[in-house]
Amino acid sequence: MLRNEYTKEKRVGEGTYAVVYLGTKQSNNRKIAIKEIKTSGFKDGLDMSAIREVKYLQEMNHVNVIELVDVFMAQNNLNLVLEFLPADLEMIIKDQSILFTPADIKSWLLMTLRGVHHCHRNFILHRDLKPNNLLLGPDGQLKLADFGLARNLGSPQDLLTSNVVTRWYRAPELLFGARHYTGAIDMWSVGVIFAELMLRIPYLPGKDDVDQIDVTFRALGTPTDKDWPEISTFSAYNKIQFYPPPSRDELRKRFIAATENALYLMSGMLSLNPHKRWDSIKALTSQYFVELPEPTTPEELPKLGGK
């Protein structure tokens, strides 16, 4: 008889398909989070989010992607053991007592982009990037989490669902109901998160799916056939209000502290046409990451409740 390897010490949250506990891995005393997947009461068996989470996290091992430590069955429940990450970027953004420097923002964005790049080079789309899913380790490292909506890029003829990504971070092609899309949808979310880091409030907070289209294009201009040739093939396109694109000056006024390179990168990631939108490589090699200030080292980033 052996001691059980994992202990569940504290219940810290409950989602639709799982209960999350804090615990310890006994063999090395490592703090871990255990997601106990609810298997009973589900109409369609094991939840697809749990399957996706295991499927994609098994594929990846990167400092900016949450680590799946173990998978085990206990008392006929499936448990996922994940590394323990005490905070997320949403908490930090909302904590008014914390001041962000441009170097801090650059550091968080850099880590996010590295994680996204790692997903994309493994042909994995995250499909739910938002500050709440960017977790922060005790050492300040930012890690992409919650792969419950992730999927692989698939074959070109595969039809994907457009009902993905939390509304405020949803790319325009998804708002129009696109059934074929690429990693560009994740890049859009990163662009919105970048804006949110600079503004400290959500950048495109649509009240519902229809309002999201309006909010998005009011801020960034309604795309036209000229800059996005297939746009008028989407049925929803003809019903929307036309807004002119914002001038560089208007953007400068909205993002007062941003440098020209920061605005250039943000606009690149927020290109309405997904074909023109910057991919992770272009974003990571942009001038913004070359110019001063250098990104803050993860250990020195602001933490919840002060440094």
């Binding site: 390897e5 697809m48 399957i51 295991v54 085990f72 999927r151």
Partner: protein, 326 residues
């Protein structure tokens, strides 16, 4: 929180096994081999019909067949539940390859195909319950290893290889049909899908009168000679033994109408001695396959890398000793 004392086990995922390993494990789970084989053919037909009905791509069928056969390496084969197992395998494979269907639809079709004319709500509910119960067991049997049946599927990779090797459309079509027959064989549990695709292409080349199999290094396709031979000979033997029952026989593409048992006998003659994967020496002592899986152990852990097991086998470091005063 107090630490409970209970059993725990850690299992390393081994998604592919050799022929002898499979046979050894099946000694614990399949009492009557003939009955298992007969049912397997019927189940395959049943799964094909389900997939046709739902217009699923071939990868859904392929994954379901892998699950079905894998399940029976570590779980008892029982004729009464084999269709439920198959239904659950298909349901899970739909999730695995993103061709989702509601469980109600799957169960209704499954019961209908099994000849149930009037399906009562109770019968449907019972079917759903069994499918859900079996789902986790199937995943456990695969050690929650999602690396396989994930992005590479025989029919898709076969087309890509065919293009890379500059083989003609008709030849690839023939290989595609050969690969369909491969889904019925246990070779699915022995080698990865891309190797099966390569072997099917090689057979198709050799069946073509004026094409020779390009002398390629299998390493370029992330495969090797012995794995490829395993599939190659398995397929040849299958056609030599039961060509009449194969799907290829009724679907021979234009230009290949003359292909028959003789063609495969000829191929086998020219291929020389039958060879394939090397069987390990430790068959009798390998607990993974000789011991029946115990699903009653309370904590059953599944890992993908041996490194993790080795790490845990290391002795726990004692806390640093206090410095003695000198």
């Amino acid at each position: 929180m107090s630490v409970n004392q209970f059993q725990t086990q850690i299992v390393l995922s081994r998604p592919y096994l050799t022929r002898e390993q499979i046979k050894t494990a099946q000694k614990n789970t399949i009492p009557d081999r003939r009955s298992y084989n007969q049912r397997r053919i019927m189940v395959f037909k049943f799964l094909c019909d389900m997939c046709t009905q739902f217009k699923f791509p071939r990868r859904t069928l392929e994954t379901a067949m892998y699950f079905y056969q894998r399940y029976h390496i570590f779980n008892k084969f029982e004729t009464e539940i084999c269709y439920d197992v198959a239904t659950s395998c298909l349901f899970l494979s739909c999730k695995q390859v993103e061709t989702m269907k509601k469980i109600t639809e799957i169960c209704l079709e499954s019961l209908r195909l099994r000849g149930m004319l009037k399906i009562s709500p109770e019968a449907l509910d019972n079917c759903k319950k069994r499918v859900i119960q079996l789902e986790l067991r199937i995943l456990e049997t695969c050690c929650f290893d999602y690396r396989i049946n994930q992005t590479i599927h025989i029919d898709e990779i076969l087309c890509k290889f065919g293009k890379e090797l500059l083989l003609s459309y008709d030849l690839c079509h023939l290989a595609w049909l050969v690969a369909f027959d491969a889904l019925k064989l246990e070779v699915l549990l022995m080698v990865p899908q891309h190797t099966i695709a390569l072997a099917a292409l090689r057979i198709a080349c050799e069946l073509s009168p004026d094409v020779t199999w390009p002398n390629v290094r299998y390493q370029l396709f992330e495969s090797d000679e012995s794995s490829l031979n395993e599939v190659y000979f398995d397929l040849l033997n299958f056609y030599i033994n039961v060509f009449e029952l194969s799907d290829l026989k009724d679907n021979l593409p234009p230009g290949f109408e003359t292909v028959g048992v003789e063609s495969f006998i000829q191929l086998k003659k020219s291929a020389g001695r039958e060879r394939g994967l090397k069987e390990p020496d430790n068959l009798a002592s390998d607990a993974y396959i000789t011991k029946e899986r115990d699903f009653s152990i309370r904590e059953r852990r599944y890992v993908l890398s041996r490194k993790r097991i080795n790490e845990e086998n290391l002795p726990v470091k004692p806390p640093p000793a206090k410095k003695e005063k000198t």
